[in-house]
């Protein structure tokens, strides 16, 4: 039973950052701007917030420190994403190239600045993890569910799930969401009824930047004791999650948990009694999410839910 709890708890560490970042991807792509710089934005968000945690260590700790760090991560991601928004919306640049540039810039910037401002001149930023909640009061005592979701948990898990709920409401139940989706499907039509396409796309990119920045922090905190200017390519994995989830928040949730579970199983299968005796190589588990993504893409390519105008710069003058 403990192993089962562990698997679920570890799955959260993989899935929640993927979920948050992939939801960010949904917002920007639904608005018609593709954003492969999610990885870079995660790095920037993690960098500033972990640096903050590092500097504040001693004077603050626990959940209040984490909440401020979350705010910092979100703001950093938003500011950083403005570069991508400006290049791809105002300058009508190729969005892949702009995104690639940011992906290359982010780790370099994080390493350079970390070495400049840290007293010992090293690139790793260490932090003390005071954020883990061993057991949520009351809820942690519920049989089964308590063990799955309310022990050895982080507040970020619940924030991630809250973001999911808010995303669904915003995308499908608000005027803003409808307009954003319109700008990704047919910006000219949206423009013709008076929607400012540029503004909507800016909003989409900035939301994705904020969520990616947050995702970076959420990714690093439970799994290491320092930040080394990398998020192990999870920004790209989040893109795969987004596509696997067909740009729909609830499906993205499913995809994130599927990816997370497979990642957990691939790492921890040796202690899972059933799988250990099966004799399947861990490489198989590592491959499953990607093979599944390929299959889903192959079968859904005709009915793909990708926003029609994604990655196409909006030009008022065309047509």
């Amino acid at each position: 039973m403990d192993i089962l709890f562990l698997v679920v708890q570890q799955t959260m560490f993989f899935s929640i950052p993927l979920l948050i970042v992939a939801l960010g991807g949904v917002f920007t792509e639904r608005g018609g701007v593709t954003n492969i710089a999610l990885d870079g934005m995660m790095i920037m968000g993690a960098f500033t917030s972990i640096l903050f945690i590092n500097k504040m260590h001693g004077s603050m700790s626990g959940q209040s420190l984490l909440l401020i760090a979350i705010l910092i991560a979100v703001v950093t991601g938003m500011v950083f994403s403005l570069l991508h928004a400006y290049a791809s919306i105002n300058m009508k640049a190729d969005q892949i190239i702009s995104g690639t540039a940011l992906n290359m810039f982010a780790p370099a910037f994080a390493i350079y600045v970390a070495r400049m401002i840290q007293a010992n001149g090293v690139q790793q930023i260490t932090f003390v993890n005071t954020f883990r909640i061993p057991k949520v009061p009351l809820l942690g005592d519920i049989p089964l569910i308590g063990g799955f979701f309310f022990r050895n948990a982080y507040i970020t898990t619940y924030i991630g799930l809250a973001i999911l709920v808010v995303s669904v409401i915003v995308l499908y139940r608000t005027r803003f969401g409808l307009r954003l989706r319109a700008c990704g499907e047919h910006p000219h039509a949206a423009d013709s009824v008076g929607i400012n396409v540029y503004k909507m796309r800016y909003a989409g990119v900035v939301i994705s930047g904020g969520l990616a920045g947050l995702g970076g922090l959420v990714f690093v905190v439970p799994t290491s004791t320092q930040f080394n200017a990398t998020v192990s390519g999870y920004g790209f994995l989040a893109l795969a999650v987004m596509i696997f989830g067909q740009w729909k928040p609830m499906r993205v949730l499913f995809a994130a948990f599927f990816f997370g579970l497979m990642k957990t199983v691939a790492s921890a299968y040796s202690v899972i009694p059933v799988l250990n005796t099966l004799g399947i190589s861990s490489d198989v588990f590592k491959m499953v999410p990607f093979i599944a993504t390929l299959i889903v893409l192959a079968f859904s390519s005709k009915t793909s839910q990708a926003p029609r105008a994604v990655a196409i710069p909006y030009d008022k003058g065309s047509r």
Partner: protein, 366 residues
């Protein structure tokens, strides 16, 4: 409005960079006492940064300590990528920069040094953790201007494994990075040390889970694996793979279990680190440099630094042992140093399960 925003953003970036630049000079290519002759002692970094808390850092600290004491110019060069050509290019850069002696940490330099020792006969090379050979391993040759330094990592691992079992741990884990010779030696030594201590204490069974992560990074995968081991009952994990250790420490903090660090004293990184299987990187680099400058450079030789030359140790001052004492440590260390304990290393056994251990039950996890 838009233009204003752009200008503001640009200014913010310029100022933030300028502000950063004001605090301290860049450590990248850091050099002390630059003279007309350039930099005498050069180091080429292996994969990973200069502050990897492991190989590069340990080597560089040795160089800096020696060079500053004797007022010699020194500088490190970072190859553009991990390839023989890139390493050779970095070596050429160092030679052009006036290097008289070049220190290269890591077995990946074996082939570049094999080429470079012939190409630059007037320059001396210290190759740490390897011996020069050609691309297909058919020719091993160490020229008179080169010295190869190896460490008896199995002795360091032995000390850690011995201490852990003596201290009451019976369920052990080993998480190495890539299965390179140095890491393999750590793992083999760890298993043999555990076996020896168990034999002395009369313990009949020790569990050892044995795994190579295939990387030297802190990733959620490594953290998950460590967490799953701890959940299954493993009490202490020997993390011999650079930053892999940080993932293990993170898992150990959550599970309130123990970690054994590697290469350098890692006790400051987490309270869960009970000790570290150290290699005397800095000390051996200093002694090699000292030999060079005193005219007794052991060119053409391959040196092995073990307990006899203080090449391995546990940092007893910062270790958190319950019962394993300094006297216990001195005893086993002396036995290693005088050669009364002989260990199998990476060339003696194909896999950890072939070590012929009877008490330690090794479970290979792939």
């Amino acid at each position: 409005m838009k233009k204003l925003l752009v200008i503001l953003l640009a200014l913010a970036m310029v100022f933030s960079l300028a502000a950063c630049g004001g605090t301290e000079p860049a450590p990248e290519g850091e050099g002390e006492g630059e003279g007309e002759a350039g930099y005498e002692i050069a180091m080429i970094t292996d994969i990973g940064s200069i502050d990897d808390k492991s190989f590069n850092q340990g080597t560089w600290e040795g160089i800096v300590a020696y060079a500053e004491e004797n007022d010699i110019t020194h500088k490190y060069y970072k190859p553009t990528e991990q390839s023989t050509d890139a390493y050779l290019a970095a070596i050429q850069l160092a030679v052009d920069g006036g290097a008289k002696i070049i220190v290269t940490p890591g077995f990946l330099f074996e082939e570049p040094i094999f080429i470079a020792q012939e190409q630059y006969p007037e320059v001396n090379f210290i190759l740490i953790d390897g011996n020069p050979h050609n691309a297909d391993y058919s020719v091993f040759r160490t020229d008179p201007n080169t010295v190869g330094i190896l460490y008896a990592e199995e002795q360091s691992g032995y000390l850690a494994g011995y201490a852990a079992v003596k201290d009451g741990y019976t369920k052990l884990g080993f998480m190495g990075g890539m299965a390179v010779p140095a890491v393999v030696r750590f793992g083999y030594g760890f298993a043999q040390g555990a076996e020896a201590a168990a034999e002395e204490l009369g313990i009949t069974s020790i569990d050892l889970k044995y795994h190579y992560t295939g990387n030297f990074d802190a990733t959620p995968e490594n953290q998950t694996l460590a967490a799953s081991w701890y959940a299954e009952g493993i009490e202490v994990i020997f993390a011999a793979g650079g930053l892999v250790g940080n993932s293990v420490m993170s898992a150990a903090e959550a599970a309130e279990k123990a970690v054994i660090g590697v290469d350098i004293d890692q006790s400051i990184e987490s309270d869960t680190v009970i000790t570290s299987a150290m290699k005397g990187l800095a000390a051996s680099v200093q002694s090699a440099l000292d030999a060079y400058y005193s005219g007794s450079f052991p060119g053409g030789e391959s040196l092995i630094y073990g307990a006899d030359k203080d090449g391995v140790q546990l940092p007893m001052a910062t270790s958190k042992f319950k019962t394993f004492s300094q006297a216990d440590y001195d005893k086993v260390f002396t036995a290693l140093a005088d050669g009364s304990i002989v260990l199998k290393n990476d060339t003696d056994a194909e896999s950890a399960t072939d070590l012929g251990l009877s008490i330690v039950k090794i479970t290979l996890v792939d």
